[in-house]
Symmetry: C2
Subunit: 190 residues, 2 copies
DNA sequence: CTCTAATTTGAGCATTCACTCAAGTTCTGC
DNA sequence: GCAGAACTTGAGTGAATGCTCAAATTAGAG
């Protein structure tokens, strides 16, 4: 809703402050007061630009996810490996933000919740892109099978991220590589 | 720390109330007031029996996990399939509580947090049991490899649960079956 | 019974939180 | 340079939250 330069600059400062805070003190430490203090703004200004605290948090998370997209133009040239590595890069590159992502998904009530709908759409889109890439690599595969394969692959990836968060010593990248190898092996058997 | 019958009965009522609330309104709806109201107890009584709200929540979650243990006596007779199915049963049988479990893990700060240490220990124990079962099925496998295999299997399982929470229409049980088949296939190739 | 310790109560503390709003100030298109 | 909209401020609201504690009550071992 910002129209003037001043508003756009304030908006940017608020988003920056939120991103920094999410990285430094996590979701629960990122209070409205903390965001406003760091951005050098009063709460009233914040609510002139955003409808809620949730909104700015989700924007930061969405930006972080998009930042590692291997094919932002959707030209359909990304391989399965690209997608797997990109998602792994999102997890390892911004672990705190990735945690917020998992946290939001898992905490979000199943219904009626705006942000969980947004994430669901995002998630489904990701599955589709995985499925497309799988079919691109194996033209003989039925669409449904490719989709199921994509769901499994992505679920496993999320599970590895989850495991890593529980246990930081977990060899996340090694397991991603191993899992990807397993996926290719299964694909090759036909 | 209940010593008298009255205390034990109150303790049970509080645990029951907590379990019901977690199932009905989730973690964020399960406030101290809600627990006490439902249990018919004042906050002071609660704190005479429990150190914190967290404690009772964790007890409920731990009980739910243990309730589906295929080999509670640790006699080492459970197969990989038993373990996979038991964990899947925990997820599908008590989805709300399972959600709390994932939520707690993912929300828990990495360090210093008591409950995340407890869950970590629990988690590591589960991985070990998976690894043992895998070795039991394939005696020629090195211990490290079995452990890594177990980690991957469990991570994928958690990922599927996560996916199901995000998208309730997801065919969780079908994917568990498929994933287990993939695991056996990979084990058999050697 | 009696005495001690377990239990319960009821009031309330201290804090934090997201959010609001009327009143001023600044920007910018015209 | 003016008018009106965008923006900012500052002070505040109200509703939670988890938790505490002195005092009253009750259970149960001896």
């Amino acid at each position: 809703m910002a129209r003037y330069q001043a508003g756009l600059r304030t908006e940017a400062r608020i988003i920056d402050a939120t991103r920094e805070l999410l990285g430094e003190v996590g979701l629960e430490g990122t209070t409205l007061k903390a965001i406003c203090d760091r951005a050098g703004v009063r709460a009233g200004s914040f609510y002139n630009l955003f409808d809620s605290k949730e909104e700015v948090v989700l924007r930061v998370v969405a930006e972080a996810i998009n930042a590692v997209d291997p094919d932002p133009d959707r030209s359909g040239t990304d391989t399965v490996k690209d997608l797997v590595l990109a998602y792994a890069a999102f997890i390892t590159g911004q672990p705190k933000v990735a945690r917020i992502y998992l946290q939001t998904v898992v905490s979000g009530g199943l219904t009626g919740n705006d942000q969980s709908k947004r994430f669901l759409r995002h998630h489904e889109e990701r599955v589709s892109r995985f499925a497309d890439a799988i079919r691109r690599a194996d033209a003989g595969l039925a669409g449904d099978d490719a989709y199921a394969e994509a769901e499994l692959l992505l679920a496993a990836l999320n599970g590895l991220a989850f495991h890593w968060m529980l246990q930081p010593s977990f060899d996340f990248e090694g397991h991603v590589a191993r899992m990807f190898a397993a996926h290719e092996w299964l694909r090759a058997r036909t």
